[in-house]
Symmetry: D2
């Protein structure tokens, strides 16, 4: 998909998909495919595989390849497949982008190098992302998630990178409206800004600070997320606020348990969650009860497959 | 003013007023009164004196009393006078609230103790604020400004304090939409949430997360701040976004220089700025030129007095 | 006392004295004098009044003056009286230094402005401290306590300030050996470095990174602190390590309860502790029991007065 | 090597070896072997391969295996080979430990999972390290490096892990003497504490808080590091302070440029440095000149091979 086409289609709600694991800690690629087929019957715009929520840092190179192969076959042509490709080295990141292209992804999501965070000056970051964008056969989305990486992407740096023809947007999971606002004001209108922070979907769409969202919460609560986005598109503030509350109430409870929580929530909705890979903790009995309760309150019943 | 009345009137845009100083580093109370009279001819809902932007931490006890006396005489009855009263000790804070009442303020703004920040557990914070609210003759607004204090006010704690009949709202300058959203969802509808973060005025009003704003930027750029608020009240998203851009462009430039910047901006608008008290740095020549330029671009001309 | 004399005498162990309060939250100046007289019979080199541990941020201007007056009369001529004089404004700090001189203090301890921490660039900090040193009738000790102020004093800035004839040393409570080491290497040998971190007394004296210590722990456990210092002066590493363990075991337990803990410990040692000023929490029953137990284990019995 | 033997031998100075890369960004395993042979003629106790300084996060699985194979052949039997084996998942970490055992390493160094740092409670961390220690054929050294991981290892957790028969010590690169002191006081005397912070070698050996050191600085400046350690072993404080200054002066300058600096320094000493892998920046001309100058001042000439 060309950089121009992807700029047109990067809108709406996209789940940052979990990667199901079996009780024996093996990749459950059959379960992943089943989830993708179920989600594909909704208005979700596409899917992010190998993101943070997809536990990419837990997967071997072989497992990462398998996720993309299985994902591509399960996702219909009308929906986007985004692939997380950030590695610590520039050369490793480019190899991952090439692998994603071979697997048929539509675009890649690239986080900064973050281990030696002190060395990541704006100039070093910019050189890294430009080298990746030059080497990647697929359009690149920057990925800012300082709560995990400790490396913020300053809006001024993002603005400079937005001039690269193969850098089409950003997933901003920093969750800081100030950063989102400044990024919006410093970048051209066709630079796609997708928030990764569930609490910002409504306010950022209202203020024109974002074009869409890539959300862990959309694994489990895609209906209210889609409802917020649709209401804001129609300018219906009151309806959007109601859907926002429903989305937030689910997200507050399930998100408290991290990936173990999203996986338990997915299971509760009749899809395939499985367990997080250790040392990430599982949702225990009490967590599962709370998750079931909040899903019931929000009328998010098990889907029929 | 009763707690009920104040809840009704705490809306709209309120500047966190600077305290002008002469070139000899003396309090310019005449200049302060002139500013208040000029601002009172606009739609601003009221004024915060002795806030952070008012350099309260730089003022002696005598100077603090003088600011309130002069302010009360300059502010018309139809506008609110809020007084910053946070001190490090509980007893000192209550004394400040009593002084503010004697001076004729309408409500007080109380920040947490913050020097021994490690000791400020939610329980200790709650006890402190409850003791202050019990002892204060005036309704209390909590004041959260962790960028200065290092002490965040967790929404759960705020929600518990909102049950106190004399605690009527919060000025949230943390600038974190997640915190604002959670505070809104955990507190009753008549608990007044005023954002102190200029970038959040539009998104927070849109999402229903705030009822108004107390802004340093409103010292200098009250027109676009009032325009954002008015447009959002009427549900005019496009007009609000235009005013927001104008407000942010001014705020980005002037705010870069801190209190020295707001004072220079005030001077450029024909009001009385004066200098910040050392060690706070003044806006230098280059800063003043940038400030003049951005005010010209935003068509914020000197007011006639 | 001249800057030269003070440089000679700033060595050894100095307690950062607590300020006793009565049950009615009034300053107990009689108790303070009693403590100072008891401590003066030991090898302590001097006393810091109006430091962080002295709750200076909780005291009114009148109370601060009273502490210095009472302190000066209780402290014998052979012991140093250091006065905490850091205020948020440059002019307020100079006034405090002048007051300390009138009260008969030997030197002042000055922390940086810290409320608007973002404005405190190295250049602004240096200008502030130089203005204070120019205006202070007494020799100045810099005071670095970033855990409370959020404003570190970079060793390079300290080195430049060490060139001022009226800046004689630093109390470094940051507790970071890297900072201490660099400060030592960048400053002249007669610049006095006193650590405020109890765990660093032994290692910093051993490595030549400090000349002495100003310690909250010395309110309660002056004997082991003096023993560490004396052993290191004689090069007796094994004896120093034994005293260090004893000092640390007391400090770990008592320090866990902050100023409430030091005051309870003082009471347990037969001196006058009283209560911390709210919102600082008191040591509760359980805390007092733990404190009594650790003092017993360390054989720190009540002193006879 | 048994856990008991390794406890005896984990002392002295161990470099955290850099991994040389060619100008084409390929692993220079021949250069690595040459360095190891040169260093093996000194009093260094052993070598850490695949540590942070070894750019392990930049290396593919194949490259990691090659480093261990080549390293084992170059290191004489009398010197320890420690292998960095921390991966994000528990199962990946155990696999790395098994690979290290097959390659002939003597012990492994394991950092915590750190991507989802919020989930790493003390209990989760302890379970992870225990599972790794159970599964590892080699004795385990914990590795604390919060400046890179954002996950501190609390001394209380370390103390509990020290009870595991296959966990023999810790490399503490946090550089916080308070943590080192508490770790020492909470663990048994045969638990080996190696500091990874160059400024702490002298003070920590003096205070008995460490048994030795694993240092990036020892790639380039092994002589003064060995001199500090030898002097402290003999109780010669003055000689240790002199060597410490020499070590720190080199470390301050070279370390400013990170891994690019250590590699340039290695080259200047006649060993094989090569370049860091992008996006890590190279030492530029100016940096190389500064590095050459400080090595000359410290009389650290090129070694003859």
């Amino acid at each position: 998909m060309s950089a121009t086409t992807i700029r047109t289609r990067l809108r709406g709600i996209i789940p940052a998909c979990v990667t199901p694991m079996t009780a024996g800690d093996e990749l459950d690629h059959v379960g992943l495919a089943a989830n993708l087929r179920a989600w594909s019957e909704t208005d979700l715009s596409g899917f992010l595989l190998l993101g943070s929520t997809g536990e990419v840092v837990m997967l071997s190179e072989f497992e990462q390849a398998l996720v993309l192969e299985v994902g591509r076959r399960a996702i219909p042509a009308g929906k986007l497949l985004l692939a997380g490709c950030g590695q610590q080295s520039t050369r490793g990141t480019i190899v991952a982008c090439q692998n994603a292209a071979r697997a048929g992804a539509d675009a890649v999501l690239v986080m900064p190098h973050f281990y030696f965070k002190g060395a990541m000056t704006p100039a070093v970051l910019a050189d890294h992302f430009r080298a990746v964008a030059d080497g990647s056969p697929l359009p690149v989305l920057l990925y800012s998630v300082p709560q995990f990486t400790g490396v913020p992407l300053p809006p001024e740096t993002v603005a400079r990178l937005a001039e690269h023809p193969n850098i089409v947007g950003i997933k901003d999971s920093a969750g800081d409206a100030r950063v989102l606002d400044l990024t919006r004001r410093l970048t051209p209108p066709d630079f796609r800004i997708l928030t990764g922070a569930v609490h910002l979907v409504l306010p950022a769409l209202g203020a024109g600070m974002a074009d869409g969202a890539i959300l862990a919460a959309a694994n489990v609560a895609w209906e209210p997320a889609l409802a917020v986005e649709a209401a804001m598109r129609r300018g219906e503030l009151a309806a959007a606020r109601t859907a926002h509350r429903r989305l937030m109430e689910v997200s507050d409870v399930v998100g408290r348990y991290g990936i173990g929580g999203w996986k338990a929530g997915l299971q509760a909705r009749g899809l395939v969650g499985g367990l997080p890979r250790p040392p990430l903790p599982q949702a225990d009995e009490q967590a599962r009860a709370q998750i079931a309760a909040v899903l019931a309150t929000a009328e998010l019943d098990p889907v029929r497959r």
